[in-house]
Symmetry: C2
């Protein structure tokens, strides 16, 4: 082990131990603070200058396999071209180089790899403001959300994956003497185990949360000894370019081959994710995105372990409220439906309300009254353009706008979407959510995901019926999150029982500063792998255990 690696282990072992403790308790833990106050004040301006300076220039680090062509074309949802370009890769050169880098990385052992991974995360943390600008202008997130979600929250998710990987790698010692008692001398065998990585791991990045959704797979694969090729979404390359650049710096400094982590951006119209996913060297795929491509990967990338996080129909069961909590709950729901223009895979979509109405204190509110109250709460939340911009961010791509147009034709529009002008970026595309009212019989409307700021108030026959609709639609079509509002413990119990079957993560009676859309690393699971919305979760042992294999040798001792 070289001095750098030894230093990194000494530096990061306390963090690793704290993270290991957190995944075992699942109590509150964070390594990377998400308050801007925790970061140097001048960092924001420096990062903005860096962001601007990169425009019009090639962002390159001499990666093995660069084929001389350049790719680019990112456009900010705030209305301007990024003018970033990147090296395009030849997989026939890149992948063999990555494969050749693996044995030394494998032989370094779990603790060294964990320390290198944590150093990468720590360096990424120091570049959080740079990441915030890169994320804001690729995903459309408002600045503060981009700062938190693409920065420290993603870094925490990465650290969580490192902890799970390290935990799995350390299931037992790497040597043991097996001594079987017998009549005379015992039989003794000296046994040795090597945690052999599967090979090259492919991370297919998404448009909306390239780092938050990318880091769990990236760091789970890396800590378990694999090399990782990152194929970013063509609209969100910069955040992962920053990530790969940082990872390669750290790897090289620690004496490893920088090609253990590589960026492979695609040319326009190039089906690079498919090409890479079917390469025999690619033995792991992590994907976040559409059901269509996720299902394709699961069906076709048979040489690989495939971890997918796809789409679902996140559901809210609305049953009853204490009178004094109703306004807060409405405001809370309005925020959940508005945050990042509901372009989160965790944003609620289907709100199930019983036909005979919901109880609010001593009152009963009809589904129409509830929908109207929610619409008013939305207007209050988003009435001020500055606040609306800070919450909504920008529309990430034109498909969301198309969907908004189509949604205006569905059911009865309870709340129409409006365009919000942005004072700083006049060409930004900012929209408020649309809410439509439909009946539980209109299943063809609400049993697929309407990704974006579209939700449905769905009239059901009763709360029991709501729970059945929730259970059955989520089992069939998937969901990452669910919520229930009720003052009845019986209803909550029934909602929980349905949840264990439907396999969503349930939030109960939330009115405070944690939203159903949000999951905290080290404590909240993101996805469950138990319904069609995802076949994996961030993070648990199932997410890491298949990324390597214990291989054994034994000999007489």
């Amino acid at each position: 082990m070289n001095a750098t690696v030894a230093d990194l282990i000494a530096k990061h072992r306390p963090t690793l131990d704290a993270a290991l403790g957190a995944i075992r308790s699942r109590e509150y833990y964070t390594r990377f603070p998400d308050s801007p106050k925790a970061y140097p004040a001048q960092a924001q301006d420096e990062a903005l200058a860096e962001f601007q300076a990169r425009r019009g220039r090639l962002w390159s680090w001499g990666q093995t396999g660069a084929d001389g062509t350049k790719v680019g074309g990112e456009r900010s949802p705030y209305g301007f071209d990024l003018e970033y370009t990147y090296d395009h890769m030849d997989p026939d050169v890149l992948l063999p180089a990555m494969g050749a880098a693996i044995p030394a990385w494998r032989d370094a052992g779990a603790e060294a790899r964990a320390a290198v991974c944590i150093e990468i995360l720590t360096r990424l943390n120091a570049r959080t403001y740079a990441m915030a600008f890169a994320a804001m202008h690729t995903t459309g997130q408002a600045f503060m959300m981009a700062f938190q979600a693409a920065g420290p929250n993603a870094q925490d998710r990465g650290l969580e994956a490192v902890a799970y990987g390290f935990s799995a790698l350390n299931a037992h010692p790497d040597r043991a003497v097996w001594e079987k008692p017998g009549k005379g001398e015992p039989v003794r065998l000296a046994k040795k185990w090597v945690a052999a990585p599967r090979g090259i791991a492919l991370v297919v990045g998404c448009n909306t949360f390239p780092t938050w959704n990318g880091y769990p797979g990236l760091f789970a694969s890396l800590v378990t000894g694999n090399a990782v090729v990152v194929k970013p979404h063509p609209r969100a390359v910069a955040p992962l370019a920053l990530t790969v650049e940082t990872a390669r710096e750290v790897l090289a400094e620690a004496g490893f081959d920088a090609d253990l982590v590589a960026l492979a951006p695609e040319a326009e119209g190039e089906p690079l994710a498919k090409t890479l996913a079917l390469r025999p060297e690619v033995r792991i795929v992590d994907f976040t995105g559409s059901n269509e491509f996720g299902d394709w990967l699961e069906q076709n990338a048979r040489q690989a372990q495939v971890y997918t996080e796809k789409a679902g129909i996140n559901t809210v069961i609305v049953d009853s409220f204490r009178a004094e909590e109703y306004p807060a709950a409405l405001g809370h729901l309005a925020f959940s439906l508005s945050l990042y223009t509901a372009q989160m895979c965790t944003s609620p979509q289907n709100l199930l309300v019983p036909r005979d109405g919901i109880r609010v204190g001593d009152e009963v509110k009809s589904p129409e009254e509830f929908a109207a109250d929610l619409g008013k709460a939305m207007d209050r939340l988003l009435g001020d353009d500055a606040r609306a911009n800070a919450i909504l961010g920008a529309v990430v791509n034109p498909f969301v706008l198309d969907r908004l147009e189509r949604a205006a034709e569905v059911g009865k529009t309870v709340l129409a979407s409006r365009a919000v002008p942005h004072p700083e970026f006049p060409d930004a595309t900012v929209r408020t959510p649309l809410i439509a009212a439909v009946d539980a019989m209109d299943a063809e409307v609400y049993t697929h995901e309407w990704f974006g700021p579209i939700s449905f108030v769905i009239t059901t026959d009763s709360t029991l019926d709501s729970i059945a609709v929730y259970r059955d639609t989520v089992k069939a079509h998937g969901a990452l999150t669910a919520a229930v509002y009720s003052t009845s413990e019986d209803v909550l119990d029934a909602a929980e029982e349905a949840t264990w079957e439907a396999g969503a993560n349930l939030s109960i009676n939330l009115t405070g500063p944690v939203y159903v859309n949000q999951s905290a690393a080290f404590s909240d699971y993101h996805g469950t792998g138990a319904n069609p919305a995802a076949n994996a979760t961030y993070a648990d042992h199932a997410f890491v255990a298949g990324r390597f294999r214990f291989i054994q040798s034994r000999r007489p001792a």
Copy 2:
């Protein structure tokens, strides 16, 4: 929790803790002794009487879903019909009943399920002699091997799976309070996690080791909260019928629905494994058997997690011996090639010998001389018919005989197979192994499995070439085991490095009472999941972690 379950926990918690300790140390541990001396002397005669008494009668326990038809037709490889019959099932009745049994089993919790599983194993242990006769007369194993492999060794593998499952289920507490510090009051959420099973697990039994290969999946699924339907191989129903009968007794006594474990034997010509594997309720499949069906399952049972143990080409690299160890090594290899007529998925097939010969002390032996020496060792081992019968057992099915006939036409026969008469069972089919010599260029001969007593002495260009052939053929075609004989640490290092890439489990210079074919529960992995011979191993966290999912609910605390 009822009193029976509480008693079982009190009774079996020490065993569980010992097993948990063993999987963490991977040192020697066994719960179920495999010496007949550890069992009551009269048990053998009683078990034989039971075995005979069952002939000609229906073996039934009133399982839900019995459709009134009976299936049977097992024939002992020792030359007589078993005359056992079993209830045939209607999946449309059986599977819903099994599904309905799951929630109470899930809610019982990990410790209760582990205790019930260990009680099942303990009861099976008490019926080891009965299992021995059932296994002998379905698999063809000699009596002592059937006793050990189908009895205590299988029970230990089952306990190992229970320990891994329990360990995975206990990754963290089932409740936690998450408290995020803030400016004022901290945000507090009470979180709850339920380990939700995937659903119904299907175990597809094999002909040769129905319990040893069946128990890991059966108990891994059961302890993680699933129901398990066992589809036995039509030639080896009895060992799994005994298993299911015992499991159902224990489940019912402990207050659970007996339908949590069910037997589904197939009618002649009925593709029941395929039918069950594609049922939407079946969410886990464990399979041991042919590449053809294993690959089919992996490709088609997409609604399920599929764990397969298929075929491979187990390889021995022969490089050099100390003179005084050579005779013992030859005798050892001869035994490995003969045990249970090499009808083990772990039996060696390909022996790689360098063209210029192997060093034995100061001598050099040509490949031909090595092959002749091995042939002589085989003759010594099997020259006495009584000993030959005790080692070989009987040929499990006619396909093995067909293969032996075809093998006689391949390469140069170094050692011909002969029929061995059996004093007790005149119609038993007993054969000694065949060894053929081929060249490394004859890859079409040795790059697929010749299941049964067929092996090849393959001449390579050098030991380095042998290692390359080993690595490349095993990466491409799979292997469960590998062995190397060498006095050179450099050769052993190179063989190990090739092993980490090829993903087989390597035995080095074995000459004693542990054979390359054998893997000890709690210490040796069986299969790696790292090459085409298997996508899973007995057992590790990857084998259990995907059999359940943590599902979460959270609410303000």
